[in-house]
Symmetry: C2
Subunit: 135 residues, 2 copies
Amino acid sequence: MSNRDDIIKKLKSSGISPTSQRIDIAQILFAKPQHLSAEQILNKVNEESNSKASKATIYNTLGLFAKKGLVKEVIVDPSKVFYDSNVSRHFHFFNTDTGILTDIPDGAINVDHLPESPEGTVSTGLEVIVRIKNS
Amino acid sequence: MSNRDDIIKKLKSSGISPTSQRIDIAQILFAKPQHLSAEQILNKVNEESNSKASKATIYNTLGLFAKKGLVKEVIVDPSKVFYDSNVSRHFHFFNTDTGILTDIPDGAINVDHLPESPEGTVSTGLEVIVRIKNS
DNA sequence: TCACTTTTCTAGACTTTGTCTAACGGTATA
DNA sequence: TATACCGTTAGACAAAGTCTAGAAAAGTGA
């Protein structure tokens, strides 16, 4: 899923024109399931790939990917947003000592009896976070 | 629960010396169950109460209250932290259009089969957020 | 009460994440 | 070639929160 042509196909099928910066960012994100901050992605683009991308492009692209559902924003750390390349339903541990976000294994938690959204609103997502610290 | 003497008792019983700034902030917070940002609290202190408090004091005090368990930090909006005066277990709707945080009625959601924390860590809290938008 | 120590408070500088703007670049179409 | 159009860029800017150094308050013991 991480070779260039597949990435281009993936972007196109989401209605995103595959510019070189977007391809680079997508290749980094979709290399494996992971949780990266905008800053980490910026660094990786400018170190690992041959091309460069500006801060504004990183933010624009991540926002676009999130809007198109290619990536999920995870808001657990007051100081930065994480971008999760795994968009299927799953939940997270967040270690407040280390700042590291990890997945909760599938089936290890069960959420049901989901609430009706209030009048005039619709649900757009469910997030479950178990905060942990080093013992 | 919101008269001055009760507030002082509450602070003392949590091991917090009741300075006038802390009392003012606590009175605002504990007037009712609510979700306030640091900025809202800063404004309320300097408008509604007779005394003044600086930004640093607001942040120090909220951090202290959170550490002592008088208040719960809710991290849902990438741009600011909410402080929840209801510390009993309950979950939230977050409306991304309005930026308003509301409680999910008790019993409207069910979470069980909580996961084991990873080796070397302990759980410090569970958060469930249903993101909603205006329809 | 006084002298001393410790805690808390304050203004304002600073840091960091993220946004905005205005100019520039590449590509497609005619 | 002209002309749109979209994407990218550097850097200025905004806003939340942190830090620092000094001032004020509050506690402590005699």
